[in-house]
């Protein structure tokens, strides 16, 4: 009988215990990253301690590095041990290289204010942020990448320095818009903060009639709570810095998961950087899904780390696929039987620690259920896969998750699914979802189309890299399950969630894909050392591309403080119950007052007022119409309208006599419904019924082209648009 194949890595990934056993570098503590509880003897061979001090025969030893803090009494069924060939030690002198990373990081941070000062955001066009960035911004990105690479190449990478360099890298790439733009970008983020405001204004009542998202109010309530408890009036600063903070927390999760799945001291950092570099999806803005991904990653990290188990054949043959090319395939029935009857081995953790981690995971699972619609589905799918193949101890967590979803949707949100069953079950039309999520998005000018094509290429590259990593992982661990975790979210496409469904699929698969991709890159670097230089250059290209792709929509996603101030002023001056409608979806419309003011009904043919201004203004019963610089650019670069189109619409509306211009600063415009002359006389005669409104309206009627400045609005420092 053939000897069972020896794994190159420990079968389990019990957190730090999964780190690859390698001889320590000179002067390095033996257990620093090997992480095992067992001790090394002087020659580097491993002593496996057993209760009672008995020595285990070599054939029965386990790889088996017990997690630190492992319960030594617990029996495990880990795979047989092996001795890895000693890797050549790196004799490169430390020299000045130890100062390289800190210097690069400092220079990168120092360049950021210069980048902010030299970037003309009003010159943004269809190519987005990359087009207007100056040398300082690109220099900051270059230095941030250099800080990471130089530390990774160091003889003994310092974890605090790598962490700092990673933080700088995030700030200089994902966080670049937060640094150089004076207000939070993305109209949807401002809509979300409007939902938070609604909960705060309603004293904790979720206005479910306004929007279906209020059926999952936890995120909005959470930030309303923070806002009220912290005595803040608005969350503008939180909105601005939310994306880099969320990416940082997610990168910590990727690093933690990478430690469990990849081992080593360098690979987990590369996985984190790969995640940052391929995170073009922009789902990290102030939104429920951004936080939900943190929760999902927390659960997955512990499921694949400290709670990881592996169902193995007691005879030492892991089953299908064949463990090595020459191995005879076992009969199918036997494989099933063996798999079914072999209990998963136990995580090397004390029972109290297990219970504690279960409790924490359940908290996260329940929280994600009440926070977001899609994330719990993806998470439960991934946990189900792990449970079915026996790679995860803690199926009770999965049961609790399924029960929580069922109770939440079918009991708590009964009104939602009975009234909107179509949304819940989806259209099931994957083709339509593909059309809406991919093909329909390839619109706009040449820059827009190029950037969007680049997104599709990046998504394809991510899955391709993950697939190559799957092969490498299979060769190393005989394990295909991780790739399955990246594939499971694709089931969301069958639900036909809508145009954002595909973004979510990539979002939920990305953490696993980058870890597998890192395995592929590590395999390449070990096979062909000069590839390290190529990979360093590729990292630079990747982050440059990321800035181009993430900032591709910046022309109409960038929000300016004067736009925010203008909308707040409109809200302050408009009587309750009136409709405040924007030309299109760009800009910070709805950032507050959504329970008091309407935002236009969703009428067929009038998806946005700009489609047919006179007709749609009537159909939507618009009392106040607003437009922003971002709205103008939305039309120009995404809808291929001629520059100045929004001013033409203003002209149409004003000349129709139905609206008067009450405020204009470039393309930031407020129009109010004209009051008929008889009503006007009545109001003047009978005193102003709506004191706040009256003044503004009358002034506007007198000065159709005037620029009566809202109190909070900044003067037009720069002309918008052109």
């Amino acid at each position: 009988m053939k000897e069972p194949r020896v794994e190159q890595q420990p079968a389990l990934a019990p957190g730090p215990g999964a780190a690859r056993a390698r001889p320590p570098a000179a002067g390095q503590p033996a257990s620093r990253h090997g992480g095992g509880a067992g001790r090394r003897s002087a020659d580097g061979a491993r002593d496996v301690s057993r209760p009672g001090g008995e020595q285990v025969p070599p054939g029965q030893a386990t790889t088996a590095m017990q997690g630190r803090g492992a319960d030594a009494v617990s029996a495990t069924t880990m795979l047989p041990a092996q001795k890895l060939p000693a890797e050549p030690t790196d004799d490169r002198p430390a020299g000045i290289t130890r100062f390289l990373s800190p210097v690069f990081a400092l220079v990168a941070v120092a360049l950021l204010p210069v980048a902010a000062a030299t970037t003309d955001l009003y010159a943004l066009d269809g190519w987005g942020l990359a087009r207007v960035l100056g040398p300082a911004a690109w220099g900051a990105i270059l230095c941030a990448v250099a800080a990471c690479v130089s530390e990774l190449w160091a003889r003994r990478p310092r974890i605090p320095m790598l962490a700092t360099a990673t933080g700088v890298l995030i700030l200089c790439t994902n966080g670049l818009p937060s640094v150089i733009e004076p207000a939070a970008r993305f109209g949807t983020a401002w809509t979300t903060v409007g939902f938070v405001d609604a909960i705060a204004q309603e004293n904790g009542v979720s206005p479910v009639g306004l929007d279906a998202r209020f059926y999952w109010p936890a995120f909005f309530a959470q930030w309303a709570w923070f806002r009220e408890a912290g005595g803040a009036d608005q969350l503008d600063t939180v909105l601005r810095w939310f994306p880099p903070v969320v990416v940082t927390i997610t990168a910590i999760g990727i690093y933690a998961m990478g430690r469990s799945m990849l081992g080593g001291t360098r690979a987990p950092w590369v996985a984190a950087w790969l995640f940052v570099g391929l995170n073009w999806i922009e789902q990290d803005y102030f939104s429920p899904q951004a936080q939900a991904v943190v929760l999902l990653l927390t659960v997955l990290t512990f499921a694949l780390g400290p709670l990881a188990t592996r169902r193995i054949d007691a005879a030492g043959v892991p089953g299908w696929p064949a463990p090595h090319p020459g191995a005879p395939r076992l009969p199918l029935m036997r494989r099933w039987l063996v798999a079914a009857m072999t209990p998963p081995n136990r995580p090397a953790l004390p029972p109290r620690q297990l219970l504690f981690i279960y409790f924490s995971m359940i908290l996260c699972v329940v929280a994600v259920v009440v926070e977001h619609q899609l994330t719990p589905i993806a998470l439960i799918g991934q946990l189900t896969l792990l449970a079915v193949v026996g790679r995860f101890r803690g199926r009770a967590v999965l049961v609790v998750g399924i029960m929580a979803v069922a109770l939440w949707i079918f009991v708590n949100n009964r009104d939602f699914w009975t009234a909107q069953l179509g949304i819940l079950i989806g259209s099931g039309d994957t083709g339509a979802a593909l059309q809406a999520g991919v093909a329909d998005r390839l619109a706009g000018d040449a820059g827009q189309v190029f950037v969007k094509q680049l997104r599709i290429i990046l998504a394809g590259f991510t899955y391709l890299l993950g697939a190559v990593g799957m092969l490498v992982y299979w060769r190393r661990r005989r394990d295909l399950v991780p790739f399955g975790l990246a594939v499971v979210p694709m089931a969301l496409a069958a639900q036909g969630y809508g145009s954002e469904g595909f973004l979510r699929i990539v979002l939920y698969g990305l953490p696993i894909l980058v870890i597998l991709g890192t395995d592929a890159l590590r395999w390449l670097a070990r096979r062909w050392r000069p590839s390290e230089y190529l990979l360093a250059a590729a990292m630079l290209v990747m982050f440059g591309t990321l800035v181009l792709v993430r900032g591709g929509n910046e022309a109409y996603q960038a929000t300016f403080p004067e736009e925010v101030a203008m909308y707040r002023q409109v809200v302050a001056e408009t009587p309750p119950e009136l409709e405040i409608v924007a030309f299109n979806q760009a800009g910070p419309t709805g950032l507050e007052g959504i329970t008091v003011f309407g935002r236009g009904d969703n009428i067929e043919g009038c998806g946005q007022l700009a489609d047919d201004p006179l007709v749609c203004a009537d159909k939507q019963a618009a009392d106040v119409i607003v437009n922003y610089t971002s709205g103008e650019k939305y039309g120009v670069y995404l809808e291929n309208r001629p520059p100045g189109w929004s001013l033409d619409i203003v002209q149409q509306l004003v000349s129709s006599g139905r609206y008067v211009l009450t405020y204009q600063d470039g393309f930031n415009i407020v129009l109010k419904k004209a009051i008929p002359a008889d009503d006007q006389d009545g109001q003047q005669g009978g005193g102003q019924q709506d004191g706040q409104q009256g003044g503004g309206d009358q002034q506007g009627a007198d000065q159709p082209q005037g620029a009566d400045q809202p109190a909070g609005a900044a003067p037009a420092g720069q002309q918008a648009g052109g």
């Binding site: 001790r39 709570w225 923070f226 408890a229 912290g230 999760g253 927390t298 329940v366 929280a367």
Partner: protein, 125 residues
């Protein structure tokens, strides 16, 4: 013979204790400023920052402190995850049961978290 140094562990323990102490202070300061109703320009911003930091990390660190001998990344991830989860669930409970009282919830979370944080400040895992 290789002797494992405990220097790294000690540094990690000190860091974990320090974070626990800072979070205790943050919780207390947040509650005091809430009671005082501080809304002045700089003080108001400080109050919001401290309150938000405590509500996100305080309960999470109180829980993550029980994670034994885990790498820092696992501890921080669990702290963030549990902290976010707790704040989401508390907010959801306030909404679902009509118990909207942001300041009261802050005091309760502080009251429940601080003893555990103090414990972690003294006995770091």
């Amino acid at each position: 013979m290789t002797v494992n140094s405990t220097a790294v562990d000690t540094r990690a323990r000190v860091a974990r204790r320090l974070v626990a102490v800072l979070l205790v202070l943050a919780g207390i300061v947040a509650c005091v400023l809430s009671l005082l109703g501080a809304r002045a320009e700089a003080l108001g911003d400080f109050r919001f920052l401290v309150t938000m930091t405590f509500l996100i990390l305080g309960p999470g660190w109180a829980a993550a402190g029980f994670l034994r001998r885990a790498p820092a990344a696992h501890v921080w991830l669990l702290a963030a995850g549990v902290g976010i989860a707790v704040s989401l669930l508390v907010a959801q409970i306030m909404v679902s049961f009509g118990l909207w009282n942001p300041a009261g919830a802050l005091y309760i979370v502080t009251l429940l978290s601080v003893p555990f944080l103090l414990r972690h400040a003294v006995v770091a895992q």
